[in-house]
Amino acid sequence: MSNPFVFKSELWIPRYTGIKVCSLKELIEALKIIDKFSIFYHMYINIFNYHNLPTFYTNSISYWLYKNGYLLLAEKLSVIDPLDYFDLEELRNVLIKTIKENYYENMNEKKGNPFYFITAEREIIESGRIAHTLNEFIEGIKKSSINSLFYHLVTSRIENKTLINDYSAWLFNMGVAKKAEKINKLDLYSRNLYEIKKEIIEILESKEC
């Protein structure tokens, strides 16, 4: 028998790192040294803050680049899917590499709107709900907040160092591989988390295994 699923949630508070940048050169240098949870904040959490809006870009660094006229770079960075990474250091390197590859010395003009690096002080809480069966699991998700979804679909992968989210990992263990795969393939960054929740419940309640 597989382990029960423990429903958790994640809350956070933004803390300003004191680092602000006004040019691409400064952005690259800052990305090398900032706290990895600042990368987490800007690449993962920021989309949570805007997930319910049809914003132009999927992360705040791309949005800053766009606002400052670096349209190509904004697109190059926005296509980076944070869910392809579970290691924040690897993601940091990809960001720096992408900017460097598309950066020329004449692009180093200082911009009037600085980019402020924020980091996330996080707190994981247990909801008190546990699922032993698929039905309990579905009920648990129905009662989950979008913060809880965010934790199990996004953060848990970083904590467990895997590309498979918590829900799917548990479903694989339960022998419902197709549902697990479908949930793991959901494009979280193209829809809002309420729609994602609805779709997960539909997948789980469908007859296919």
């Binding site: 803390r15 300003y16 004191g18 809006l53 049809p54 707190e123 008190g128 907040s145 979008i146």
Partner: protein, 402 residues
């Protein structure tokens, strides 16, 4: 009371608040500011303090007392922290600030609290009574990004003794701050009379009472009569719009009796607009919450064309009512409006006129943006998010101790 917020934020969110508050049970928290009435800080504390108590975090709110001399100094300090203006702080003022602080130390018991929130500069000196084991947090509601150096030095003497500070947004924090800086935007309360749902009939009765035609589009700005809110710029934009659109401009505000500038701005505005039959300049008494609510709900487009702004929560109030807002690209307005999605950010009178015209001409845009505006406020600028941020902050700061 918490249950009353479920329709706005969902039961799951309230459950999470209860879970996090259990970690803070039996904690004693104190908020200190300088007024029970008037202003955004008092309005937020009025909602926040009862909610914290309902979550079994014993929370008190005390007010720092001062006289006219004290508050004229802190007003000057406030202005100097906002922007250097050639004025200087003299030693008499510092001595008087300390005198009033010591008087308040006798009245305000801060000893029996685990966490003390001090709001803005007026009560900041109370920190000298900090006890080991207590955590003190300075909650700054103003933009101190480019302060007068002398004013900042004065403030810094107290600030460095705090365990953390909070600003609305990172842009407002001065770069010399060395203690942890948290960024927590302010919020509106959906249960406040300013924000509750109103019947169509009440909206109609309130608006038509002032002679405004509900059949004609209404462009609205709600703000104090203050040059920094640029009501004259809004009027100029209106004249550009009026060439093609048969619409009305409503400038709703108030001025305090002790604010001579407010009265002169109001009168100047009345003079300037006197020949315009579709312009309404309305000076409402303070606490005209339902009236403001009705105007925001009845408006076609809401404007906030401030030249400088703190956070400007009036933007969120309008957005909460599903209105697209055309706002200046300054201060907290740019944090609330997502350009092109929940409204428009503009940099000039002409920019404001163009965007207002686009919205007047296109109901689909208005409805779409209004929908997203409400969603934005629902997720980012309601009191429950604010409360949750405070609870996590308290937990995190207490954890630093261990």
């Amino acid at each position: 009371m918490l249950e009353e917020y479920i329709p706005f934020v969902g039961e799951e969110t309230i459950q999470e608040l209860i879970l996090i508050s259990k970690k803070l049970k039996d904690l004693k928290v104190l908020h200190v500011n300088s007024t029970y009435k008037g202003g955004g800080v008092a309005e937020i504390l009025n909602s926040l303090v009862p909610l914290m108590n309902e979550l079994e975090i014993k929370t008190d709110w005390k007010v720092f007392r001062g006289d006219e001399r004290f508050f004229s100094f802190t007003k000057k300090l406030h202005n100097l922290l906002h922007i250097p203006c050639g004025k200087y702080i003299n030693s008499d003022e510092i001595v008087y600030y300390l005198k009033i602080t010591f008087e308040n130390l006798k009245e305000i018991d801060t000893e029996n609290y685990d966490i003390v929130f001090i709001h803005d500069p007026q009560p900041m000196g109370l920190i000298i009574k900090k006890h080991p084991g207590q955590k003190w947090i300075w909650r700054c509601h103003i933009d101190t990004s480019t302060p007068d150096p002398q004013a900042w030095n004065f403030l810094e003497n107290f600030l460095n003794a705090y365990d953390a500070c909070i600003f609305h947004m990172p842009e407002f924090a001065y770069e010399r701050i060395t203690i942890p800086i948290y960024t927590i935007p302010p919020s509106i309360d959906p249960l406040h009379p300013k924000n509750i749902e109103l019947s169509e009939e009440e909206i109609k009765n309130i608006i038509t009472k002032f002679g405004i035609d509900l059949e004609k589009p209404i462009i609205l700005q709600v703000s104090r009569f203050d040059r920094l809110k640029d009501p004259f710029g809004v009027f100029e934009a209106f004249k550009l719009i009026k060439k093609k659109y048969d619409c009305q401009l409503v400038l709703v505000g108030s001025f305090a009796e002790d604010d001579p500038e407010g009265e002169s701005v109001y009168k100047e505005l009345l003079n300037k607009t006197s020949g315009e039959k579709d312009v309404f300049v309305l000076n409402l008494p303070p606490n005209s919450h339902r009236e403001i609510n009705a105007f925001q709900r009845g408006a076609t487009v809401v404007v906030q064309k401030s030249l400088k702004e703190g956070f400007g929560l009036v933007v969120s109030e309008a957005m909460w009512k599903g209105k697209p807002v055309v706002g200046s690209n300054v201060g907290g307005i740019k944090r609330q409006i997502v350009h092109g999605i929940t409204g428009y950010l503009v940099n000039s009178i002409e920019g404001a006129a163009v965007r207002i015209k686009q919205l007047l001409a296109n109901k689909y845009f208005r409805d779409e943006m209004g929908f997203h505006a409400k969603e934005r406020v629902k997720h980012r600028f309601l009191i429950i998010r604010h409360l949750r941020d405070y609870l996590i902050l308290i937990y995190k700061i207490l954890n630093q101790k261990s």
